[in-house]
């Protein structure tokens, strides 16, 4: 396992797509871990057989770090993500988000914790079909704060503009392309300033070009906003935008790569 150095500067040129992005350099100096898991396992009983979906996984993610969680189908990636999102309790081990042991929380507190501290982008059905683009993003703020304040409204609008959706603010989800819908989902996952941003196969239903655009935006925003981000993906090509790759096989961490050259070689060999 290769640990990320405590202080490192990441400078990445961001290619322009059909949206405007600036060339940004990010200096990461934090040593605080936002996500920490200690020997986390999840097992299910199927008939008489005990299935270990996740088996003794320990990981740490710092603010501003973007992790690609990869592996074959059934390797436990989504189950791991569900535990990090406080949607599932581990059978063994512990998950800490910002120092809080989330599996110890009662259900009602877990819902609130998710609302306040975690942003999520799903593979599909991300958006509420009867709310406009802007309303979908504002929804996250309404859930967190109970009502929408002007500052929140400005932030939602600002994020969407940065994501190139200025002219689609009042469109409904069915009026958007797949890539545009995922960008809205990304905006929603960040608008309430969570410490952790999770994405489950955000590019699964997108063509290659759109997929690159979405992941690139995602990575940029995670770095800019200094969030801890984890993306589960089948498509190893998307790992060119991550800071670290964790590969799971049969519920365990098989490989962890943090050097750019190692990551690019991993992608090319896949």
């Amino acid at each position: 396992m290769t640990a990320l150095s405590n202080s490192s500067v990441i400078s990445k040129p961001f290619p322009l797509g059909d949206f405007a992005l600036r060339d940004v350099s990010v200096e990461k100096v934090s040593t605080r871990n936002v996500i920490e898991t200690y020997n986390v396992s999840k097992h299910y009983k199927v008939g008489e057989t005990l299935v270990r979906a996740v088996d003794g996984v320990s990981m740490r993610v710092q603010p501003g770090e973007f992790i690609g969680l990869v592996g074959p189908s059934g390797s436990g990636k989504t189950t791991m993500l569900a535990m990090l999102a406080a949607l599932l309790s581990p059978s063994e081990g512990e998950v800490f988000i910002d120092g809080t042991a989330i599996s110890q929380l009662p259900e009602s507190e877990r819902v609130q914790f998710r609302r306040d501290n975690i942003g999520f982008t799903f593979q599909s059905n991300n958006l509420v079909p009867y709310l406009t683009v802007l309303e979908n993003v504002e929804l996250m703020l309404q859930l967190k704060q109970g009502s929408l304040r002007p500052a929140g409204r400005d932030r939602a609008r600002g994020l969407l503009v940065r994501l190139g959706l200025e002219s689609q603010l009042h469109n409904l989800p069915h009026q958007l392309s797949g890539g545009q819908r995922q960008r809205v989902a990304i905006a929603r996952s960040l608008v309430h300033s969570p410490s952790v941003v999770l994405a489950d196969e955000p590019t699964a239903s997108l063509d290659t070009e759109r997929a690159y655009q979405v992941v690139e935006i995602f990575a940029n925003l995670i770095h800019e906003e200094n969030k801890a981000g984890i993306m589960v993906t089948h498509d190893l090509r998307m790992c060119q935008y991550v800071d670290r790759v964790i590969q799971m096989v049969d519920g365990q961490v098989d490989t962890e790569l943090s050097e750019r050259e190692e990551i690019m070689e991993f992608i090319s060999c896949a």
């Binding site: 989504t78 189950t79 569900a82 949607l87 998710r114 799903f122 009867y130 489950d200």
Partner: protein, 385 residues
Amino acid sequence: MAVYLAFKEIWRNRTRYFLFSLVIALITTLVLFIAALAVGLATANKQYLEVLNTDLLAFQENTDLQITTSQIGWSKLNDIRRVDGISDMGAIGYSRGSLVFEDGREPIDVSLIGVEAGRPGSPEVIDGRSIRTIRGNEVVIDENAVKQAGIAIGDEVVIKVIQGTTEEFYTLRVVGTTQAQQYLFAPSIFLPFQTWDRVRPQPVRGGNPNREQAANMVAIRLQEGADLETVSTRIEAQVSDLQVVDKATAIEAIPGYTAQQSTLNTQRSFTLLIGLLVIGGFFQIQTLQKVPQIGVLKAIGASNRIVAISVVSQITIITLIGVAIGSLVTLLLAMVMPDVVPVVFEPQAIVFQILGLLLIGPLGGLVAVRLTTRIEPLTALGVSS
């Protein structure tokens, strides 16, 4: 937040939800119409007894309180009058006849009610004067007769009855009108008792001169403070062959009244049940179609409470709209309904029905609410717990 989501979803899918609210509107119209029919039929049956200014009613024993078969001899009336606790009483005779018209209009079936002037049973007039004589050719008619026959005070009316085997016609003058007092589905015409005894249908023309004059029913008013139960028992003990009851009991005994009302009440209850099932079914299907969406909402932090309130709000809004439309349609129907249709829209009954209809929405939607709360946020990830 929850109500906001409910409103938004209804607005975006307004055609679908409006169509469903029309279904609720139809159910509402049906329930209100059946309720009005129940009141109307009940009124047509019992209106006279309901407005009768009396405390007790006496019938011949063993006649099941049937006014058409009860016969109380005149001698018994004096015995009743002597019972302690009674302030006044009046003999009432009942028979059927037809109001016929010279201009060839269809005859109208009427209840001929013989009363003693100024005694219990005699109607309160709202126009003209009340009956004053014992055997005069004067009548007081109720508002239903006025409406149906177009009769006014001072007019002469012709009543046709069968005496023996022949039709007999009697011309009487209208001296007053009283509030609507239908009895046994016919408008009422009040006559002096002796006139009624002369006019009423009899097996032999002119009747049997040797027979004792009899009333079908006696209206009894008690002294102030007298107990109904005590006085009725006293009357039955002191005067033979009598059954004495209060008005409510007499109404319940009207032929077919109970069966008619229970049938209509059953229909109304079943219609409400159907409404409940229809609403429950519709929203359950709606919820099943939204399982992934609800899963995502919960995954991003919407609590069960928010999701459940959103569903209940939606159901309540749709039900409100449907009931409002249905009530409006019923109101319009009531305005164009011909008078011969026995529907009466009683405000209290209508309000009660509307409240019941508003309740079936949330009640029927409980299944959908339960389903909503059981959806796991993990469905957003395609994972099961």
